[in-house]
Every structure is written in structure tokens, then in C-alpha cells.
């Protein structure tokens, strides 16, 4: 088995003309990129209003992922470190704007400008110390910080990764969570070594009612037909690592509910037929001293 590409060369060297060529000729690569992008878009959970959004494609390469974005009507900007890959995207006349850049150096966007971001099989490249100046942790931090900045509030990023091992997965997810994202990891087809896919689903800002993580796909992926057996049972979701922002930050927002709220709740419970609801008195919902 060939060793992982990430271990051979830095991305701008590995993705040379020969490698880039495969992205126009290999129907297998083309199909996989399209499928992964469709899934990433699904995980972005954009409002279902048919409105085109401004989406960032991180490690856009030859623009295969971008083509899927265009098909769904979105406007996109793609970033990649490999000129050879971007040349293929030019050849393909993709609709998005392309930028030659190294995401480990941070994304140069004005704050709050992007409606969402996807990335297909690129982030694991950040884990390599392939040059003396490359410190993976620092680069991941710089990347996630700038991603958080560039997304508008409540916007999401769906980042598909091929981690080399559990430690790398942990390193990437931890770096993301430290930058203030909520969300977590969605693992599709967790029981199949071959079909298993990791998506880091990040939400810009603290968790709220609308920020529930999407469900992972279970069952087996059928390669030929492309049909997928979805889980029909909600309890079977395999969403691991569902972390929230550090509790330190959340505590500040905790509000004490007032008397009116307590009275309303009690009334609701009575109306629901509960019999053991304490009666309302002058003590109901009053302020209490903290006891330690």
C-alpha cells in the first residue's frame, strides 16, 4: 500500500501537474469529490429558500467540489495552495473565483462576510510539519481563528477530513473548538473502514436551538448505485465529540428567571393536569441568598 500522500511531500509539491491531471480524468475521483461535496452542503444546513449564498471552498483544488456548489446555485470563492490544481480549475472554467493561498497562514477575509464554508479532503494537510517554519498546532489555530472571523454569525463550516489517526483527529477538532466554534464531528458509515467519512461541522457562535448537529449516516454505503441506507432510527446517531464552548463563557450568560416566569410555568403544569404543583405564595420565585 502506498504511504499517505501527506507523508510524502508538502501539498504544493504533491499536487503537481500529474496529480492534478487525475482530477479531470479519473471518474472515480470525480465521483467521490462530488458526493462528499453534496454531503458537506447538506451538513451546512443552509435555509431552504433557494437563495444563492456566498460559500468558501477551502482547498478547492481543481474545482470539482466547486462545480457541485455551482450546480446548487451558490456563488463561491476557492482557496488552494497548488497552482497546478488551480490551473486545472481554470481549464475546467469553473464559476468560482480562485485564490492561491496557504490556509495555514490564515484566511484574508473581512469579518462576517461568508455565508458558509466547505472543505473536501484538505485539512489533514495542515497537520504536517513539512517545512521547518510549519508548526501544525500554530497553523491550525491561525486557520480556525480566521475562519471563525470570516463567517457571519450562525454560519456553518462543513469540513471533510481524512485524519491519519485518532490523535490527528483530536488535534484538528480541539483546535477548532478552542477558537469559539460550537458543533462537533459527524462520522458517516462508522462501521465500514472503507466508507467511513469524518465531517467536522462547525457553527460560528454559541449553540442555540437551531444549532443541533446533523445526523450521521449509518448502514452501508453502496458504491455502485450511490444509494445510501440512511438510519431510520433517530437514536442511532453517531455524532461524537459534540462539544460546546468552554463553560467559563457560558456562565456569564446564565440569567435568573423571575417570578412571572415561575408563575407561568406552574400555571402551565397545572393546565397539563399535574396535581403536585406547589401553590403560589408570596415566596414564589423570590430572590434567594446563595448558599455554599
Amino acid at each position: 500500500m502506498a504511504s499517505r500522500p501527506e507523508l510524502q511531500n508538502p501539498p504544493e509539491i504533491y499536487y503537481n501537474e500529474t496529480e492534478a491531471r487525475k482530477y479531470t480524468t479519473s471518474s472515480r475521483i470525480i465521483e467521490i469529490q462530488a458526493k462528499l461535496t453534496e454531503r458537506a452542503l447538506e451538513l451546512l444546513a443552509l435555509p431552504d429558500d433557494g437563495l444563492p449564498r456566498l460559500i468558501l471552498d477551502i482547498g478547492c483544488g481543481s474545482g470539482l467540489s466547486g462545480e457541485t456548489l455551482s450546480e446548487k446555485g451558490h456563488i463561491w470563492i476557492g482557496l488552494d495552495i497548488s497552482q497546478a490544481m488551480l490551473d486545472v480549475a481554470l481549464e475546467r472554467e469553473t464559476e468560482g473565483d480562485l485564490i492561491l493561498s496557504d490556509i495555514g497562514q490564515g484566511l484574508g477575509f473581512r469579518p462576517g462576510t461568508l455565508d458558509g464554508a466547505i472543505s473536501i479532503s484538505a485539512l489533514q494537510w495542515l497537520c504536517n510539519a513539512d517545512k521547518s517554519c510549519n508548526d501544525p498546532r500554530q497553523r491550525l489555530k491561525t486557520f480556525f481563528n480566521s475562519l471563525y472571523q470570516s463567517l457571519s454569525r450562525g454560519a456553518r463550516a462543513a469540513l471533510q477530513i481524512y485524519p491519519q489517526n485518532a490523535a490527528q483527529l483530536e488535534m484538528i477538532s480541539t483546535a477548532a473548538m478552542r477558537c469559539g466554534f460550537s458543533g462537533g464531528l459527524v462520522v458517516d458509515y462508522p462501521h465500514s473502514t472503507r466508507a467511513k467519512k469524518y465531517f467536522l461541522c462547525l457553527i460560528c457562535g454559541p449553540p442555540n436551538l437551531n444549532s443541533a448537529l446533523p445526523k450521521a449516516k449509518l448502514g452501508m454505503e453502496s458504491d455502485e448505485s450511490g444509494s445510501e441506507v440512511d438510519s431510520d432510527n433517530d437514536e442511532h446517531t453517531v455524532t461524537v465529540l459534540e462539544r460546546q464552548r468552554p463553560s467559563k463563557k457560558r456562565k456569564v450568560e446564565k440569567k435568573v428567571k423571575g417570578r412571572a416566569w415561575v408563575l407561568k410555568k406552574k400555571e402551565q403544569r397545572r393546565n397539563h393536569g399535574f396535581v403536585n404543583v406547589p401553590r403560589d405564595t408570596k415566596y414564589t420565585g423570590r430572590k434567594r441568598k446563595a448558599h455554599f
Binding site: 437563495l51 495552495i81 496557504d102 484566511l107 484574508g108 473581512r110 462576510t113 491561525t142
Partner: protein
């Protein structure tokens, strides 16, 4: 590169506090027609920095954008057309983007800006 992208981009050299807007030095500009989507224009309008957009359009040879704008103008078909054209149809093909603070030039070739930073700029 379209002006939509230009309006979102900022220079992120370490230590630069105001990397927006990037100046434009255009040597080749191209126009590619695309279908107008008024909904997208309305969606993106509040996110644009108009003054920078207008100045950028000017450096690509477009001078018909009004100085003052408000969202009511998005109901005007003629304005929408001009807005759409400048935002999404005009491409900077060859030239450079220039950091407003340091004067660092980012070359643009075949429509692709090279935003790679040197080691000492990170």
C-alpha cells in the same frame, strides 16, 4: 477575480491592522456575462463596503456606480443591472492587489491573485 471577491478580501500580513481595501493595479480586465440574480444582490448588498466597491470598479474602468446608495435602490432595474455587472461580470485578469498599509503587492495572473505570504509575513 470578481469585485465581489475583492470586496471581501483583506491583507492578512502579520501586524497589518487595516488591510482593507486592497488597491488594484489592473493591466488586463475581462467581462464574462452571467445571469443576474436579484435575490443574491439583495442578500449581499448589506455586506458590501460600497465606497471600496465603487473605487475598485473605477480602477477597472467602470464609472457608472452612484456614490450614495441605500437598499431602496435595489428595486430599480437599471441600478441592479449596473450593480450586477460591476460585482459579478467584470474580472481582474492580470495585475496586482496592493496592501493599503504596507504597499506589498500581490500579483494577479490568469485571474488568480497570489496571496501566499513569505515566512516573515506570517
Amino acid at each position: 477575480m470578481r469585485l465581489l471577491t475583492h470586496n471581501m478580501l483583506a491583507c492578512n500580513i502579520k501586524g497589518v491592522t487595516n488591510g482593507f481595501p486592497l488597491g488594484i493595479d489592473a493591466t488586463r480586465v475581462e467581462t464574462k456575462e452571467v445571469e443576474m440574480n436579484p435575490d443574491f444582490l439583495k442578500h449581499i448588498f448589506p455586506k458590501l463596503r460600497w465606497e471600496a466597491f465603487r473605487a475598485a470598479a473605477h480602477s477597472l474602468g467602470i464609472d457608472n456606480l452612484p456614490e450614495q446608495v441605500d437598499s431602496n435602490m435595489l428595486l430599480d432595474e437599471e441600478f441592479l443591472q449596473q450593480f450586477h455587472h460591476a460585482l459579478l461580470e467584470v474580472h481582474l485578469e492580470e495585475g496586482a492587489l496592493i496592501c493599503p498599509e504596507t504597499g506589498r503587492r500581490f500579483p494577479v495572473s490568469k485571474g488568480i491573485p497570489n496571496m501566499l505570504l513569505n515566512e516573515d509575513e506570517v
